[in-house]
Every structure is written in structure tokens, then in C-alpha cells.
């Protein structure tokens, strides 16, 4: 086996083949997803928000951060969603803030999933000692509340007169959010690597890298996709945490900072619903999309979980 492992040529073939398998696995999972009704609704929600975000990159009615209107106007013909307590146009902020919010959510989902996949497979497919060390690290990150780490690092950043921009927000959210996935991937890899077909591949002399890419990643693909949605949800929620705590860059416009300013000015106590509700609804909408996709995926993996409302119960009732 060590000979095969040292043969770099064989490995690179294994990797390129594996990557192709990986991509076809992702494409296959997405194709399957779209045949499920929950997932379809979830996907449409994300698509709608994506279009909203892309439009927002190129166009917003007014500059989102310009204080050019009267303060705290309720919705009217000029300001579709009214103005903030500082005189900014809420709708412009909402549309301009969509792209960064989605960017954070998706990058946290993608990078976080990749990291937990790597850690999970490494831990599940390596010796006992490495496995137990990784397991301990994963457990540490599972137990510590993410908000506390965000607070701690965020405040030290503030102390040196910096704040968490998008890059550092994404990094800290990945740091606090990768452990859930790693735990799942680890236990699945552990169970797969004990199966006979993996064992026979090892005996034939297939390299480890090739086994990991060709067999294990493919087998856990549905879980990878589901983990992506979960982590992206955490990314969305985490962005609001970072901004809400005030350790982010509050001059950036995203749905998190919009909430920060609205809550900080107690818009919910003063009846300025048009300031605080739009970002809340958009964030909840985004999260709802991720949740629907996730449970749609669950139903695909386990069809007995699906709800068939029309057929069975009514007919049985009539017959009875």
C-alpha cells in the first residue's frame, strides 16, 4: 500500500477522476432535489433572492447609504419602504444589502462544508490516535457557544481599531460553524470505511486518496449537500449575530447591519415597522429557503418521511 501511496502519478489520476465523480455527484443530488416539492419551493426562494441580489448589485433606486430624505418616513411613492431614522431609503438598502448577505451565507456554507468534509473524512479514515484528537477538537467547537467567540474576537478587533469586514466575518463564522458537519462526516466515513467494498479496494491496492474521492465522497454526497444548507443557514444567522453585536463594519449595507441600526434606534418600540420588518422578513425568507431544501433532501434520502396528503387518509375514511 505504501508503494501505491508514494506513486504520485496514480494519485493525481485518482484525484482528477475523483473530482469528476464529485461534480457528477453534486449535479445528481441537485437534479434529484428538484423533483421534491419542498425542495422546489426552497430552490425557488433562493433563486428569487438571488435575482433580487444581482439586480441590487447593478441598480438601486437611490444610493443606499445617502442621507438624502426626511427621517423616519412611512412607505410612500418615492420611498417604497419608507426611510430610516437617519433619512436613508429602506428599499435601496434592502436591495443593495442582498448580495453581501447572500455572499456571506453561501461562502460560509461552501467553505465550512469543505472544511468539515476534509476534517471528517480525515478523522474517519485515519488511525485511532488522530481520530480521537480530531474528535476532541470537534467536541470543543461543538460545546462552545459561537456567540461568545464572535464577541471575544470581535471586541479585540475593535480594540485595535478594526472591525470584522466580510472576509473576517466569513472566517469567524466558519471557525465557529464547521464542527457540526465534521461530526456528521466523521461518523459516516467511519461506517462506510468498514464496508466490504472499501475493504476490497484497499486489498486490491487502490490508493487511499482515490478511495476517499471515488467511493467515500460519493456515498456521502447527499449529506454534503444537506450540510451545505445547514451551514449556509448558520452563516445567515451568524452574520446577523456579528452585526447585531456591533463588532462588524457598520458602514457596510447588508440585512444584518440594517437590523443593527433599526434595533439600536429601537424602531420596534417607536412603531417604525417599515425600517425593521423588511430586513427581518428577508433574512427569515432566506433561512426558510435553506430549511425547505434541507428537509426536501431528507425526504429524498428517506422516502417514508414524505407526506402524501391526498391519497390515503380520505379514501380510508370514506370506506369506513
Amino acid at each position: 500500500m505504501s508503494e501505491v501511496l508514494n506513486n504520485s502519478n496514480d494519485e493525481s489520476v485518482g484525484i482528477s477522476k475523483g473530482l469528476r465523480h464529485l461534480l457528477s455527484g453534486v449535479a445528481g443530488s441537485i437534479g434529484m432535489l428538484l423533483r421534491n416539492s419542498k425542495a422546489k419551493v426552497g430552490f425557488s426562494i433562493l433563486l428569487l433572492l438571488g435575482i433580487f441580489a444581482i439586480v441590487g448589485i447593478f441598480f438601486s433606486p437611490y444610493p443606499p447609504n445617502a442621507y438624502i430624505f426626511a427621517k423616519s418616513l412611512p412607505p410612500n411613492r418615492i420611498n417604497l419602504l419608507g426611510t430610516t431614522g437617519y433619512g436613508q431609503d429602506v428599499f435601496s438598502q434592502l436591495i443593495a444589502g442582498a448580495a453581501p448577505t447572500l455572499l456571506v451565507a453561501f461562502s460560509v456554507g461552501l467553505l465550512g462544508t469543505l472544511i468539515s468534509l476534509a476534517v471528517g473524512i480525515l478523522s474517519g479514515f485515519s488511525g485511532k490516535r488522530v481520530n480521537s484528537v480530531i474528535n476532541a477538537v470537534v467536541n470543543i467547537f461543538l460545546v462552545v457557544p459561537g456567540v461568545l467567540l464572535i464577541m471575544l474576537f470581535g471586541t479585540y478587533f475593535l480594540g485595535i481599531h478594526r472591525n470584522l469586514g466580510y472576509l473576517s466575518t466569513i472566517i469567524i463564522l466558519i471557525v465557529t460553524g464547521w464542527a457540526f458537519g465534521a461530526r456528521t462526516f466523521r461518523s459516516i466515513t467511519l461506517s462506510i470505511s468498514k464496508r466490504e467494498y472499501v475493504l476490497s479496494s484497499i486489498l486490491i491496492g487502490e490508493s487511499r486518496v482515490s478511495i476517499i474521492f471515488r467511493q467515500i465522497t460519493r456515498a456521502i454526497m447527499p449529506v454534503v449537500v444537506s450540510n451545505f444548507f445547514f451551514t449556509a443557514m448558520y452563516g445567515t444567522m451568524g452574520l446577523t449575530f456579528v452585526e447585531y453585536l456591533g463588532v462588524g463594519n457598520l458602514e457596510q449595507v447588508n440585512w444584518g447591519t440594517m437590523l443593527y441600526w433599526a434595533i439600536n434606534n429601537e424602531a420596534y418600540l417607536t412603531g417604525q415597522w417599515w425600517w425593521i420588518l423588511p430586513p427581518s422578513i428577508m433574512i427569515s425568507f432566506l433561512m426558510f429557503g435553506f430549511i425547505l431544501l434541507n428537509f426536501g433532501l431528507d425526504e429524498i434520502a428517506n422516502p417514508s418521511l414524505r407526506i402524501f396528503l391526498k391519497k390515503k387518509p380520505k379514501k380510508v375514511d370514506e370506506n369506513a
Binding site: 457557544p145 471586541t155 475593535l158 480594540g159 434595533i263 427569515s284 418521511l305 387518509p313
Partner: protein, 334 residues
């Protein structure tokens, strides 16, 4: 009954690893970040109006942060000694109040919110999930499902101000702030307890609603494969009564959710800390916002440590209880 000793040792050692990890992070982080936290803190105290402080306090602060010339392991030992004596330094935002006494007031309220909301949410969520799973493919199933998914999509503080608006600002059913009515003296008497429950109703409800979806869907998705499994068919054929069969399936479906219970503590603490300032509830979360706004490092570090210790203890207790509940772990010791 034999004790699952290996399991207990595993869980307890993890507890101590994380405990010392958190303590050490608290010690090393100020040293890793460029700049001198003592100077930042000193400047903040001056800004906060602590004009009576003389410059020697800067040296005192530096000593407190262990920024002396002493070797790092000596600094670490001094830090540990202070910690175990309950000396967490002096708050800046509430100068000259010690951090420890602030936390001693605040932490119990937060723990009360977390403990009651996750317990209620766990029981109600599992029962609702059981209800949905048993009434599979009916409108009841569908509505419980949709309710769970809908609730899970709100960040805790968004739901917090929505509920606050509906029930406190406009409805005037629940109070706007505080943990008990003004003018009451805390004590173990009925009016005080009622007032505490009354003030905590909305914060607890918020965390219940945001976390219940996970339990509902988890339980539903666990109990359905259980109800379809061979042992349930066997029990049916043996002539077990309907409710008995449901209870057996429920009990077996509960175990995976119980493992999730320990992990949910961390998430709920995050939720509670975030929502407390919206409800003006005098827990750790409110002080945390103040600490961040004023760059109150000592208070923040105290919050970090105390909350992590509380979460760790909660985890350990749940894990150990789980060891006794799960027969597979229980038998490992025999």
C-alpha cells in the same frame, strides 16, 4: 448497576480539556493581538470619566493582564490563582465594580432562561413530533411540520422584537423590561416568583419557538422509521396495544434527540444572550452589549469564562444522564 466508567472518564476529561482550553484562550488572546490591551483599557476608563485615576493604575492594569516582564508561565500561574479566587478584575463600564459581582447578579437570570426554555422546548417539541409522526400523512402532520419549519427560520432576536411588539408594546399583556417588577425585593415568596415568571414569559417563549422546530422534525423523522421497523411489526403481532406500541417507538426515537440535547445548550445560550438586550432582561446578554460598546475587556472575559463554564457543566450533566439512559452505554460497564 455497574457504572459505565470508560464513558464517564471520557466525558469528564473532555470537560477539563475544554475548561482549560477556554481559560488559556482567555489568557493568550490579549497577548496575541497587537497593541497593549492595558493601554486601551486605561484610555477607556479615562474616557468613561474615571478622572480620579492616577497613572499608576496603568501599571496595575498591566500587571493584571500579566504584561509584566515575568516569564510567561509565571504570568499564567498568577492568572490561574486569581481565577480560582474569583478575581476576574474590575469592570470598566461599571467602574469600580468587580466583574465577579456583576456576573453573580446576571448569570443566574440567563441560566434560568436557558434551562427553562430548552427543557420546555425539548419536551413540547418531542411530543409534537410524536403527534405528527403518529398521525402521518394527515393534515395534522402537515401543519405541525410547517409550523416547525416556519419557526426555525427566525433568528432569535427577530422573533424577540416581533413578540415584544405584539404582546408588550401594543398588546400591553406582558412587561417591556426587567426580570421582576420594580420595587420588589427578591425572595422566596409567591408574589415574587409570579412576577419573575410573568417577566420571563416572553423571553422563554422566544427561545422555545425558535428551537422547537428542530425537535419536532427530528422526532418525526426518527419515529417514522421506528414505526415501520420489524420490532414494531413483531410487537403488533404479539398483540401489544396501540398506545404501548407508540410508546415503545417513541422511546427508541427519543435517544438520538437526547444526544442533540447537550449540543443545543450552546445554541440556546447564544439565542438567550442575543435576545436579552431586546427584552431588557438583566442577564449576561445585556451586560455583554455594554461590554462590547465600552471595550470592557475584563467584563467580557469574565462573561466568556462564566458562560462557558455554565455550558460545560450543563453538557457534562446531560452527557452523564444520557450514559444512564442509553442501555448500550450503560451495559458497557458491566
Amino acid at each position: 448497576m455497574a457504572l459505565p466508567i470508560k464513558y464517564i472518564i471520557n466525558k469528564t476529561s473532555l470537560f477539563f480539556i475544554i475548561f482549560f482550553g477556554a481559560i488559556s484562550l482567555n489568557f493568550f488572546l490579549p497577548r496575541l493581538i497587537p497593541g497593549n490591551p492595558a493601554e486601551v483599557v486605561y484610555a477607556e476608563i479615562l474616557k468613561a470619566g474615571g478622572s480620579g485615576i492616577n497613572p499608576s493604575y496603568l501599571h496595575q492594569l498591566e500587571a493584571e493582564y500579566g504584561l509584566s516582564s515575568a516569564p510567561i508561565y509565571v504570568q499564567y500561574l498568577v492568572y490561574l490563582k486569581d481565577l480560582f479566587q474569583g478575581n476576574l478584575g474590575v469592570s470598566i463600564a461599571f467602574y469600580p465594580e468587580p466583574v465577579f459581582s456583576i456576573l453573580a447578579q446576571a448569570l443566574p437570570w440567563t441560566l434560568f432562561l436557558v434551562a427553562s426554555s430548552i427543557t420546555i422546548s425539548f419536551f413540547m417539541g418531542n411530543l409534537l413530533g410524536r403527534y405528527a409522526g403518529i398521525n402521518r400523512n394527515t393534515i395534522k402532520d402537515l401543519s405541525v411540520n410547517i409550523f416547525g419549519m416556519f419557526m426555525a427560520s427566525f433568528p432569535a432576536f427577530v422573533l424577540a422584537f416581533i413578540l415584544l411588539d405584539i404582546f408588550a408594546v401594543y398588546g400591553k399583556i406582558f412587561p417591556l423590561f426587567g426580570a421582576y417588577s420594580i420595587g420588589m425585593t427578591p425572595g422566596l415568596n409567591l408574589p415574587f416568583i409570579l412576577s419573575v415568571l410573568y417577566h420571563s414569559a416572553l423571553p422563554i417563549l422566544t427561545i422555545i419557538l425558535t428551537s422547537i422546530g428542530g425537535w419536532i422534525l427530528g422526532m418525526r423523522n426518527n419515529i417514522i422509521p421506528n414505526l415501520n421497523s420489524d420490532y414494531i411489526n413483531y410487537a403488533e403481532n404479539l398483540g401489544f396495544k396501540d398506545y404501548q406500541i407508540k410508546n415503545i417507538a417513541y422511546r427508541n426515537a427519543l435517544l438520538p434527540n437526547l444526544t442533540g440535547f447537550a449540543m443545543s445548550i450552546g445554541l440556546s445560550v447564544s439565542g438567550v444572550i442575543i435576545e436579552e438586550s431586546i427584552f431588557s432582561y438583566p442577564g449576561v446578554g445585556m451586560y455583554m452589549i455594554t461590554a462590547i460598546d465600552n471595550l470592557d475587556y475584563p467584563l467580557m472575559q469574565g462573561i466568556f469564562l462564566m458562560v462557558i463554564i455554565a455550558v460545560l457543566v450543563g453538557n457534562l450533566v446531560v452527557d452523564l444522564l444520557y450514559g444512564f439512559l442509553d442501555p448500550r452505554i450503560r451495559q458497557e460497564g458491566e
